[in-house]
Symmetry: C2
């Protein structure tokens, strides 16, 4: 027993579940054993409870703000993150609940409020993955003819997050006194105006909900561009990232650390690369599993995805030829660079890159037995290339169930993962304290 408590005190791996109701691999949903529905709340509750059974730090939801293109096939539909996470807040009790919200198409007051409310409902388990959205199609759903450029989006995002943090600080902790005898409902000395007047927003405040239990819900940032690193370094608690090699991930961490220190920030920013593990009882079985998925991969869809990222139509280029250079208007600078580096390092043809890109959307695929996968994660962790991982199941439910039932026990046996939830809030789970009021004011 003492070994267990000791293990829990030492540094262990953090794990997020990147919610993929039907698995990330585009061919996964068609497999015979596949289950899941993008809009069935009972399914999502089952998934979140399995992740909670696996003692994951958090349930993580990505987002996009455009519907299916007419005529285009592919997965579509899905529940909106804040509503979904609010439902999960009462259907789970321990796991963190992190949702993606774009700063490009919302108002900071609405976002600060929704996340504060989610934090109250979940009793301190809320998190926000801050994104700026890369899609012109999304912009056209919000009365814009085109997306503002990258730098403009990040400038707005920076101010947006500062306003949201300021609103969370517009009530001090415990401002709601509700003293029946004196009739004092509110300690008015503990509520203040924000009076923010900036380039993009002017927000008076205070917020209409009290300070969240965590002070500030956990902030995640997932962009690896220079602007993304800048935002993460000044504002984020966690960085979710796509990194293909230990060297790249170490370089990314060093860049984050440097940017954080340049901004006078000393707190330690946790880095969680995405991983798509394919778990078999043996390495051979795992390879067969992946081959079966890849066999049904729609290369044309992979070319369409790359075309979107590259900024022009790649379908006229030969599949067995080299990977062409990206265009001028790329989407997702850091992901494009990652794919391009990979193609060059492995001498991939365009078709090979398309098949790989569509399998995991650029995240690292790990194929093997539970021990092989644990070895890989342990190596990354011990090399300092990751504080943990955001698990992206290739197929469901096995992509999650196999990891929880087979890989997690191996990590636990090695003292690399918790055996029970020790903390109440998500911040505590990441070793973060409640921010003091105004700590992020500028």
């Amino acid at each position: 027993m003492s070994a267990v408590s000791q293990t829990q005190k030492s540094r262990t791996i953090h794990l997020g579940l990147f919610h993929q109701p039907l698995g990330r691999h585009p061919a996964a949903w068609r497999q015979e054993a596949a289950q899941g529905h993008p809009e069935d709340i009972d399914w999502v509750i089952r998934v979140a409870r399995k992740a909670e059974e696996g003692l994951f730090d958090m349930f993580f939801m990505a987002d996009n703000l455009a519907g299916p293109e007419p005529g285009a096939q592919g997965k579509a539909g899905g529940l909106e993150p804040v509503t979904l996470l609010s439902a999960l807040a009462v259907a789970t009790s321990k796991i963190g609940l992190v949702g993606t919200i774009s700063t490009s198409f919302s108002e900071p007051y609405n976002v600060a409020r929704a996340l504060a409310s989610l934090d109250h409902i979940s009793r301190g388990r809320a998190g926000w993955n801050v994104v700026t959205t890369q899609s012109d199609r999304a912009a056209e759903n919000f009365s814009l003819s085109a997306l503002p450029d990258h730098a403009a989006r990040y400038a707005r995002a920076d101010e947006f997050v500062r306003v949201v943090r300021g609103l969370w600080d517009s009530w001090a902790d415990d401002a709601l006194v509700m003293d029946k005898r004196s009739g004092r409902f509110l300690d008015t000395d503990r509520v203040r105006l924000l009076d923010h007047k900036g380039e993009h927003f002017s927000v008076r405040g205070p917020l209409n909900v009290s300070r969240p239990p965590q002070g500030h819900p956990v902030i995640v940032q997932a962009g690896s561009s220079r602007d993304g690193i800048g935002l993460a370094a000044t504002q984020a608690d966690l960085a979710f990232t796509a990194q293909d090699t230990i060297e790249d991930s170490l370089a990314y961490r060093a860049a984050l650390k440097e940017a954080a220190e340049a901004g006078g920030r000393s707190s330690y920013l946790k880095v969680l690369p995405g991983i798509m593990p394919i778990v078999g009882r043996t390495d051979a079985e795992a390879r067969e599993k992946f081959a079966a998925l890849q066999e049904h991969t729609d290369i044309a869809a992979g070319i369409r995805q790359l075309s979107g990222r590259w900024g022009y139509d790649l379908s006229t280029h030969p599949l067995d030829g080299p990977v062409p250079e990206p265009g001028e208007r790329i989407h997702g600078e850091s992901r494009v660079r990652l794919l391009l580096n990979k193609a060059r390092a492995e001498n991939y043809t365009l078709g090979e890159l398309a098949a790989l890109a569509i399998a995991s959307h650029g995240h690292r695929i790990i194929i093997g037995s539970p021990e092989t996968i644990a070895d890989d994660l342990q190596f990354w962790f011990e090399q300092g290339a990751a504080d943990g991982f955001n698990l992206i199941p290739a197929s469901m439910p096995d992509g999650l169930d196999d990891f929880v039932d087979r890989v997690i026990p191996v990590l636990q046996d090695r003292g690399l993962f918790r055996r029970s939830y020790a903390e109440t809030t998500l911040r505590e789970r990441f070793g973060l304290g409640i921010p003091r009021l105004g700590a992020f004011a500028s």
Copy 2:
């Protein structure tokens, strides 16, 4: 048993619970038996489940978009409607879940999506109370120096609701086919662009969530101004209203009907006035209960509330003098008119009007035994002045519990209220079908 089913088929009263976590009466929370907290999800779940036990049609949440003014006392804090209702969606199974969202400070794509998601999560129990917001303080939280004027807000609201309905119609029912064998995930013939280009919004669509189970969540409108009636007549399924006399309510219904018919709309718009019942075992006990509440009423707070509505400071006017005329910039035209009519009819002093206004915010107070209250509701219902009522508990938990435990059985015995939930969706409960695609297009 046959009497019961017959009763359920005949026209019966609809009931909403206007959620007041601490009771509506400003003195209620200080009473010894008072319970509740504005931000405790367990408390809200207890309240919603009691309303569900009472077979209420819906749980209704009002909203405001400004926090407490520095230095001002009064109730403050509270959970955000969409997060709260999403949590209730998994904590309840039958009751409708209606939230207030302003059209002045949100984007239609976000609102359409959140409500569609809530409708999926609740399996067809979502509703939207459309408001335009009356507060300058709210505008200052959204980068506006002042609120757009009444007509401009309603013009935006009208377009906003049409865009939201259009987005709900951008997927036909059952567009998600998810056929493993053929690989068809989506029936692309059943998804279409919206391509809305209007005065306030340009929205391409389609939505990124499939058509809600109800087709369109139930739409509620609560403004009684000419513009409010216009919006209700063209867009709403239900009207929530403050009406003090049967004559006023009949006139309001007639105005709604006339406006609906002028707009070529034949469907029947249900009218639910707000009521604040004070239930005692006897009429005398109920009167004592109300007197005990009024005794602790803060007349100064009532004067501040009236000042806000009247558009200027009334605190320099004598409390025992007549009620002054409203100013030029009133807030809530219809509510001001209602209060003014009441003051003139009853010859109230300014102080008396302030005490009454602050007790229920202008909604009708009914004081008496369960039978007295049932008599009153039955009379309104049978006169055609109401299709039901939105219950605004004066104090909690007794304001809800007494109604559920004592008044509802009387209504049931008279054949005026359901004995079980017969319908699955909120629309069905109000006798509304799923709107055909494009029925609200303009």
